[in-house]
Subunit: 62 residues, 6 copies
């Protein structure tokens, strides 16, 4: 039943997301004792224009 959401800046390839989904699912199944079939991993790309740290958009960060 776990739902895992991963929010990152864009730029990761399909291969990287596929590998991340595989490894995170394996970790959740092994450590939290769930089944793979009930584990969902969702990726959300968030543009640097929409992500600020310390009050500064990452797209404008030096």
């Amino acid at each position: 039943m776990p739902i895992v959401k991963v929010e990152m800046w864009p730029g990761r390839t399909q291969a990287q997301k596929a590998e991340l989904a595989r490894v995170i699912t394996e970790a959740v199944v092994t450590i939290a004792h769930t089944t793979p079939e009930s584990t969902i991993v969702i990726f959300k790309d968030v543009a640097k224009e929409n992500w600020a740290v310390a009050g500064v958009l990452a797209s404008q960060s030096p």
Copy 2:
């Protein structure tokens, strides 16, 4: 005051989303006793490339 978020794969038409928003709002108002005006429904399309089940991206699922 309820906020309802619906995350689905892309592909639903505007007509389908409009109908879903109407029916879900009606259900929330009737069952949870709120007002239509205070009920918000938000749709988020999540690409199959960003959605994994059992550790496999839906875009790569057989």
Copy 3:
């Protein structure tokens, strides 16, 4: 595959949530053409102390 999240103030009974989950799932399945088994509905109670409209916490609203 749809994931539906419903954020509301506390106070709904289990019977109300059960009915809401049933009706929302039925709507999603019928209108968005998914299967019941792949449809998840999650409720999140948000206390009035944590919910502000127009800059005023609902717990302090007249």
Copy 4:
């Protein structure tokens, strides 16, 4: 450590988002006593086609 998410209709400029990130971070740091470096602000544009109030999509609202 605070994470602030702002969901709005599209149309805000980069300048508006930059200003919002700056002011919100300042408010969080000052009022909630955190550090700027640990404060993240994320913007999510939600199209009017995906946002319904009172059961009607904002894109179809009169």
Copy 5:
């Protein structure tokens, strides 16, 4: 229409949350040109036991 979510560790008082809601709403209204009535601010307390940075739960961080 903006929805703002603020996730923080527990410990902020009602007065701090009320002040944050007021200031954030004012910022959103002024900078993003919305109305106060359509601006929602939601706070979510996340325990240190449920928040990890650099792979270490904040509750176990030195």
Copy 6:
């Protein structure tokens, strides 16, 4: 910069969450090429009373 949210039913121990945070962070750092310090993992316990599959609350599921 990645933010990872893990929503699960309650019942995982602090040790399980600590191990999950460690392994997920390691995966994100290695596969997505980020730094540990900028990787946040947040756990959200969702009670079975608030989680429905196929229109049935998990707390009422046979």
